[in-house]
Symmetry: C2
Subunit: 423 residues, 2 copies
């Protein structure tokens, strides 16, 4: 099935906003085994919209149109859709009622120009939008089925999931039960993971498991898309593949599905009624910034301290006197972590110290990272060197620190070599 | 002049990467007074590329093609461009020499498949790429001039600026001297600033000054695009408009052009040999994270402390005893800021305390922000309430804290009302 996407709106066309709706739609369709073949971006302009609808209607089987369903005069999607399909616009009384109810529940009177949102091309099929006033609809133009969706990202996501994808899958003749299993890792590059997982798809011989990746430095997402008759069928197929992925990626899997690294760390700490303090240098508070604002972090996150100067950092964790560390080493990180734990009375402390290369920012500027995790019983530490410029080193150090803490809490080695470090 | 953009590549089409090249190109063209009328996205697929080139060649005067100039087999731009133009591919000896030199300077041998990057459609005009091996080129297809550019963002930006835009401006017959003046503000919404600046364009009656905005919460960028015969002409036109913008937006302008809020704060502190400590709660280290990692921050940024619990935060700044604050108020923020300054011996301290609404995250969840700035002489403070969910409150509080510090350092009132706060 040939699918196209048309994104509309002056804000997208002029680059005022980055078109993340396109990538999120396209990615989600890939996840369920559907491929987008062509994307078009046009402004709020009658002539361009009409031409874009006509061209896509000649080429595609299905077209998703995004945007232009709002109440203002520059929202033209319904009107141009009707023109392209050669039908009049008619008032959808049911949707008008829904909108009036929508405003009533918010104790507001519906402005008269919102009525425009209930004017749909005659014969269009309504696509429900339970969280907004923009009414989605489906309609044939040329040889393609068109799906009109709202530009507001959360309304789009919901309509795509609940209304558009089921209809596309039904049309494509694909098995409609689809499951997306995701593994998040840190420390292995995409091509490395690809090589490690060679052949896992073949564990299900009928080709209903598809492997994919999404890299967002420093993390990598490994995706298994599984297709089946129903969820039982999917679980039966996924089981052995999932076990194999776990076996091959092992300690590098830091979270699955909607979990996050910081969420996993927080849950591990919370489950043992532990508390955490963090000492940072060049990461500047970004490690604390991942944990401290989480719901439930109040009970776990004890204190974060940040300083660019080692002496100042030592003072902030109550470390002074003649034995003051002078350089950033593993031993220094261990001393800072231990002191931070004692000073704040937390059960755990993480110290991430960075010795950044001198000079102007450049692609081969690096940083030496010494980190330590202290508990009452013992201290673990590692030294690592990352290249790639100030921001790259900083982001890498944040992830390395959090991931080593995760490993420590899960009883895994904190010193396992990662692909991003140079030695 | 009708301009189109064609973005190529499976990674963009499948949504694996968000297409920020499109928005950055489109935005930059807008800045120099050129408008993009149509965008197309296709994958690394011969048939789609050819069709996209043909369609754009029928509609447009100028077309920018992005991506597909690399050395691998799925990089098809040169080949399909030659096919669309009906010319053969020929080896550009000069570019081949440039590439060999590029590898030699990096002490590497050029892999044989890179030679493909020097194969250009016969008659194409070379567009220089001083920082990569992908050779840009220009060529007529249909009625349009096509400009082929590399997918690597920094190579694209440079080629767009130095090669493509001058050629587009020359073709458009527009005055070729262009200047973009930018003002960054926090606290006023886009429509508010638009209203405040009504009529400023008309101060230059020939229409050569254009006003535009780019909102990226919490900051707003106000842009003046000025067109002239040369830079002297531009400066003469810009002067009165710039002064008027300053007069109308006043204290809300926090930085200009490439300056950042954190950079302005750091420079103000550095210029008076001052030092800074920061105490944060729900912002979790993000305020420190804006300042601490900056070049030159080593000398200014003294210490940051983060805690979710007020008692813990007080302990971290040496504030204890019977007078311990029990609730988040302006007075508490003042006490924490003063204590942080004394405790760390810094000349300045910023405390940002947040009382977050209870319950699950939701669009009307709010936070009450109490912040204070302490110096040896006095303490300034403000209270503010922001709605919009956990992340919105958190980002707003980071900006509010930094901007109030900026205001304090510049001798401006820290309590001026902003559009985002509810009272």
């Amino acid at each position: 099935m040939r699918i196209e996407i048309i994104c509309t709106g002056d804000e997208v066309l002029t680059g005022k906003i980055v078109n993340s709706n396109f990538s999120s739609m396209s990615q989600r369709l890939e996840d369920v085994g559907l491929a987008v073949r062509w994307g078009t971006t046009v402004g709020d302009d009658r002539e361009s919209l009409l031409r874009a609808f006509q061209l896509a209607g000649e080429r595609a089987d299905a077209v998703i149109v995004n945007g232009g369903l709002g109440p203002t005069v520059d929202d033209l999607s319904q009107e141009v859709a009707a023109q392209a399909a050669g039908v009049p616009l008619v008032l959808d009384e049911a949707w008008l009622g829904r909108m009036e109810e929508f405003f009533r529940r918010r104790s507001r009177v519906m402005p008269p120009n919102n009525k425009k949102q209930a004017m749909l091309p005659a014969g269009a099929e309504v696509l429900d939008n339970p969280i907004g006033t923009a009414c989605g609809f489906a309609l044939d133009i040329g040889r393609a089925r068109f799906f009109f969706t709202p530009g507001v990202p959360r309304e789009l996501r919901r309509m795509l999931e609940e209304q558009v994808i089921p209809r596309l899958l039904a049309r494509s003749g694909l098995q409609t039960a689809i499951f997306l299993k995701r593994f998040h890792s840190y420390g292995l590059g995409e091509s490395h993971v690809d090589a490690l997982l060679a052949g896992v798809e073949a564990l299900v011989p009928d080709g209903s498991v598809k492997l994919g990746f999404r890299a967002h430095y420093p993390q990598l997402e490994t995706k298994l898309t599984v297709r089946g008759a129903d969820m039982d069928d999917i679980r039966r197929k996924l089981g052995p593949v999932e076990r194999e992925v776990h076996k091959r990626l092992g300690n590098f899997i830091l979270a699955e599905d909607d979990q996050t690294l910081e969420g996993v760390v927080l849950a591990e700490l919370a489950s043992r009624q532990a508390s955490l303090s963090i000492a940072e240098t060049f990461t500047g508070g970004l490690i604390a910034g991942r944990i401290a604002p989480l719901p439930e972090a109040e009970r776990v996150f004890r204190r974060g301290v940040v300083a660019r100067d080692l002496t100042e950092l030592c003072a902030a964790v109550g470390l002074d006197g003649p034995a003051l560390p002078a350089a950033i080493t593993r031993e220094t990180a261990e001393a800072v972590a231990s002191a931070a734990r004692r000073h704040t009375g937390s059960t755990h402390a993480l110290a991430v110290l960075i010795d950044l290369d001198q000079g102007a920012d450049r692609i081969d500027l690096g940083g030496t990272i010494c980190l330590a995790i202290a508990t009452e019983e013992h201290v673990a530490s590692r030294r690592s060197r990352i290249l790639g410029g100030r921001e790259w080193v900083r982001l890498g150090a944040v992830e390395l620190g959090l991931d080593c803490l995760r490993r420590h809490l899960q009883g895994l080695p904190v010193t396992e070599r990662i692909d991003f470090e140079k030695t």
